[in-house]
């Protein structure tokens, strides 16, 4: 079994090396990834922690919980049913 595994890997390697699979990735040994956006593929937020909130009024206490999920989760059916639309 083990011998078989290694034989398969050796064949995979020779075919990979002969092919073009790794052609895309050559030198650039040190790479940088700035500007890869977090959300979609093309939009660009300023990044985490850049908000300036010059107020003391916004309520971040969140003592009462009135929020219901309002995104795409409501369309997803789990084995136990849909995500709820009602406040709990």
């Amino acid at each position: 079994m083990k011998t078989l595994n290694i034989a398969a890997i050796a064949i995979a390697l020779s075919s990979v090396a002969a092919g073009s699979v790794m052609a895309a990735e050559k030198p650039a040994a040190m790479e940088k990834c700035y500007g890869v956006s977090m959300a979609g593929k093309n939009d660009c937020k300023a990044g985490a922690g850049t908000t300036c909130a010059g107020t003391s009024k916004t309520d971040y206490q969140a003592n009462s919980w009135k929020n219901v999920p309002a995104g795409t989760c409501t369309s997803i059916k789990t084995p136990n049913g849909h995500g709820t639309l009602e406040a709990m």
């Binding site: 290694i6 890997i9 995979a12 390697l13 040994a29 979609g40 990044g47 922690g49 003391s56 309002a70």
Partner: protein
Amino acid sequence: MNLSLAGFQDAFISALYGKDPESLPVLTEQSGFLVYRNTVMKGASDALLANFPTVERLVGTEWLQAAAARYVRQFPPTDARLLNYGKGFPDFLDAFEHARDLPYLGNVARIDLLWNEAHGAKDEPALDVTAFAAIEPELLASVRLKLRATARWKWFAEQPAYTLWRCNREQIDVPAELDWVSEGVLISRSTTFIAWYPLSIGECAFLDACAANLPLEDAAEYATRAEPELDLMNMLSRLIAANVFAAQ
């Protein structure tokens, strides 16, 4: 007031997160302090929303902001680099009473976390595949493949976490008839982009074994034991193309 600088800083942090509001009345009685505290809270909350964009699409901005507000108060940042904030957020969501009907939310958050880790990981040179392929077959068995820090993977039992994450990340609709099966994910950063791939249980086992510094022979053994029908050739080609291996 006669505090050392370190003492003052500790009291400041404590007052900031409301743990001991009486400790520095001269500070907390200033209206400017409330602005300061609010800005810190909002910064941490915004960081969570920025770090978990897929969760945000699933539950909406308002819901996530409210959940984030709770998380921030319970687990304020301990690292100034807010890119790293929210490591405990998936566990928080798993236990969150208001997310009970969304049992996949924690796992979707886990994949966002993997993305962030791949995004922020240290640069490492990639494996020279040509040189690697030139290794004599009889020596190959004992080679230990190293993985780049920019490659992250995870197996999710009994949940199509990858499909749920991918559809929402790519902003497309989740299939109406979703198979409720186990799925794995691989996220890997290359020169200019971060790519994601579905991963089988055998492929996950192979990567786990490589990460545990096992020789190729054992890694292949683990992989085929986890998934007897696994095509090792196909797997290796996929993983090399995904740029997961580091230079030897």
